[in-house]
Amino acid sequence: MAGRLKVFLGMAAGVGKTYRMLQEGQAELVAGRDVVIGYLEPHDRPETSEQARGLEVVPRREVEARGAVTAEMDLPALISRDPELALIDELAHTNPPGLEHVKRYEDIAEALAAGIDVFSTVNVQHLESLNDQVAELTGVRVRETVPDSVLGDADEIVLIDLTPEALIGRLREGKIYAASNIDAALNNFFKIENLAALREVSLRQVAEDVERRVRLGGEELEQVGTRGEERIAAEVPKAVGERLLALVRPQASSQRLVRRAWRSAQRLGTDLDLLWVKRPGESIEGECERQVTALRRLASVLGATFLIEENDDVVAGAARVVRERGSTYIMVGESPPARGLARLREPLPQRLMRATPPGVDVRIVAHRKGGRS
């Protein structure tokens, strides 16, 4: 039977991931489990080293690569030791050439396959899908990345959260780096705005993971669970995350709606979808093509998703996408004044509210008065 993986995720070095991993390892030891340290990176932090006391350590092996000798985790020794639980720090580490695997997460996969439970640690900027985003936010790019699937496949993720102010306080007290490196760290990576952005990314990552797990749990429950369990599973995702959908048309005036929607999405910390419900057979050419291209490019800059749904009925098309994407919030532009028989028709926002699942909010964005756009 394969082992279970628990990952301690943090926004940056020094939040206490390794410390917490060791703390939980100690608790497992006290509970009577066979626990070893497969690899520990104490970073000369006395508190961390103190927390490791009493835990058996699988000796590292010395590896020579490119003229330098490094002490690496001894995977064969760990597997032959066959503990119940191994604590392996630095999930994103890249091994020197010549070892069993290129990356440490591959070592961990082998340990898991051998039936060993593993606790490990990683910072959010090492996740492949977030690497670009974090580099853009902080201006610092890390080279060692981990596929998101590693975190996705983990049995448990524990977010080690700390406010940026508290982390900088720890840094100033010399609890993270040696005194000679503190100023450099404060001037580069450890800035309040960087840490605040990373914290937001970490929190969102874990929230999304919780949501995904609850959804998966819900699917399983729907197959075997009771009616009560199904209801709980179905309700939880709505409480965890918002998803915003903006109904656009290939017109320049839609850009204001997109700007408003993006700002709302930023405030809510949620994903944004832009949807154009196109009539079947409607051709995309000329000015329409130009505007569709502009919307697509704008969505790409914003990190939003641009969707085109073919449907005769805007409401039916939007409602289908709302269900499919799990949208919780719809933004629509102000409709032009109705003429003729259209005056008798129920306004779009009301029709949307009736057609979409309960709890989906609809917001109308007014046109700017005076302009012709």
Binding site: D132, E136, R141, G371
Partner: protein
């Protein structure tokens, strides 16, 4: 007989009236859409003189103003990657420009273009968009943005009229986003412009 003549006159008058109204509406909506004035800019503020010139032209010609925020993408990132920080700056600027344009009843069709450098972004914009005129401030406030070389390149490359505006040395009026970083001495005009 006279009734038939009156009905005929009324029908003809109605037809002409409808035609005139349709033409007027079409012209007001930007005519056939060929009058597009590109206004490329960088950073969190734009010369008010350049913006006003572009708006005046657009208004006079019944055209559409196309403000285009030029965003640079660092080499270590893919060119097509999302740029949340740049987008936030661009969005605020475009909002401010649109507000000013709306007050002058000028249609706006904004863009954000990415490139490795400002010139690269501009090059991509020229390749992908159609426009009839380019209005460009000679230099963004703070000395950043398009350089003299870039402007010479633009004059050579743009398939349209290019109007380069160099404000008088004492003219520091800019239009800035509310959350933009205005230079010392700037003040707000309306809710989003600085003078």
């Amino acid at each position: 007989m006279i009734e038939h003549v009156l009905v005929g006159v009324a029908l003809v008058a109605g037809g002409f009236g409808g035609f005139w109204l349709a033409r007027r509406r079409k012209r007001k909506a930007g005519g056939d859409g060929v009058h597009r004035i590109l206004l490329p800019f960088t950073g969190t503020e734009i010369s008010r003189r350049a913006l006003d010139a572009a708006l005046r032209l657009a208004r006079a010609e019944g055209g559409t103003l196309m403000p285009a925020y030029l965003a640079t993408v660092p080499l270590q990132l893919p060119l097509g990657c999302p740029l949340p920080k740049e987008a936030a700056a661009a969005m605020a600027m475009l909002e401010a420009i649109e507000q000013r344009a709306a007050a002058q009843e000028v249609a706006v069709d904004a863009r954000i273009e990415r490139g490795r450098t400002y010139r690269h972004a501009l090059e991509r914009l020229l390749d992908e968009e159609e426009f009839d005129r380019v209005v460009v401030p000679a230099q963004a406030a703070g000395g950043e943005g398009l350089s003299g070389d870039d402007l010479v390149w633009l004059l050579r490359s743009a398939p349209a009229e290019v109007l380069i505006l160099r404000p008088a040395p004492e003219d520091h009026r800019t239009v800035a986003a509310k959350n933009g970083h205005a230079p010392h001495g700037a003040f707000a005009v309306g809710s989003a412009t600085r003078n």
